[in-house]
Symmetry: C2
Subunit: 247 residues, 2 copies
């Protein structure tokens, strides 16, 4: 058995998210179906670095699995791309040690969120950026990311019903920039709670629209209560950019 | 009757092009259906600056039409966006003199083509960029646009069966740049033959892949024979960016 790590990119628009479920097309489902065909039948269980939600995209999702077939990494990439639908692509593959696990071995994950704030969103942006007009306080938004930096209990930014051992995470990088009328938020952390990035963007938007001050957001974070935090932004603007592992 | 000029953006992926036809969903068809509802029934004929082909996008298509209803331009934009499908948006409107015509009054149109040249195209780029791996001569491609500049007979770059009075056009600007592995081609001309921009990109690609030299392309242009010119690039990478009118 060879243990493979594969980097995937996908357009999340037409998926019910990463994780296999009873209803709806999922990235995991498509990948496992392709791997099952490659290995001549039988399930090939796959683990992913980030279990992206419906509508969330990936440029550098990382997955791992064991395969009985003796393929070289470039052959595996070609074979997968021949079997996968066009909205999922394998970008690269490597043979990794037994101990490697796409999620547990990850040191950090980086996400990017794009939010168009003009009055009308151009249709070619609709799949890959959220839309929220009426952001009057563009400069104030730039001050929000510092709230997130470092180790915090992000319980206020978690979605309801998640069952995680701890809601503490360490944010290593958090930056906002404006590209014309588009707000771009980039964040890297040792891990993310479900909807955490979209909640962060909800916070940016609340300050940009003037419904919250930065100080009110700080209090909402400290409250460790998701009812204190503004609504998360739409899924479609979010992309899992990359996953970092040790050397 | 008010004579309106409206700027439109659309995602051409799910359209059979601009122009109404017996089969297939078209941008003109959607716009005329919305205008017909706005004016209480009856056809409202619309003219566009550029009759984009199936799969071609627009950020700044310009159209004109007469409307019996006394709407202000911002009201018209809102009303249209309430009636149009989400892959077509009205960006702005203005009341224009009787003599204005979206195509005939245009001084110049600008198109942009994006071509991904990496081995695998990331799915989030698939709708809005062509894909052609194996472009080894990245620097040579930069020399091609000068061939197009100025007034030329572009018969070699026209699609078969077009019936135009003259195949001469004046190219005002033509530039290639590389953004990572993506070739970006921007071109502005007083008018374009059908598939002319995609043929230009086909020429860039032929030089980039080494199947043609720049000198061979020059001869192919001078030949005024479409069989001499390389195959046009795919529609999906092409966007009508803007249309210029006199002051």
């Amino acid at each position: 058995m060879r243990h493979f790590r594969v980097t995937l990119a996908y357009d999340g628009t037409d998926f019910a998210g990463w994780q296999s479920q009873a209803r709806g097309r999922t990235v995991q489902g498509e990948l496992e179906a392709a791997l099952s065909r490659l290995s001549g039948g039988g399930r090939v269980p796959v683990a992913a670095a980030g279990r992206t939600d419906a509508g969330v995209h990936a440029l550098g999702q990382v997955v791992c699995f064991k395969l009985a077939r003796e393929l070289d990494p470039p052959e595996l990439v070609r074979a997968l791309n021949g079997l996968l639908p066009l909205d999922v692509r394998a970008l690269e593959a490597a043979i990794v040690p037994e101990a490697f696990h796409a999620r547990r071995s990850a040191l950090a994950k980086a996400y990017r969120y794009e939010l168009d704030t003009g009055p009308v969103q151009v249709p070619t942006r609709r799949r890959y950026a959220g839309h929220a007009p009426g952001v009057g306080h563009r400069d104030l938004v730039l001050a929000v990311p510092t709230l997130f930096l470092g180790r915090h209990d992000f319980a206020s930014l978690a979605s309801a019903g998640s069952s995680v051992k701890t809601t503490e995470r360490t944010v290593l990088r958090a930056e906002v920039s404006w590209e014309g009328e588009t707000l771009v938020f980039e964040v890297e952390a040792d891990g993310f709670l479900r909807r955490m990035v979209r909640s962060m963007v909800g916070g940016l938007l609340a300050v940009g629209r003037g419904t919250h001050t930065v100080e009110e957001l700080r209090q909402a974070l400290l409250a460790c209560d998701r009812r204190a935090w503004p609504t998360p932004a739409e899924a479609r603007g979010l992309t899992l950019v990359s996953v970092r592992y040790g050397a």
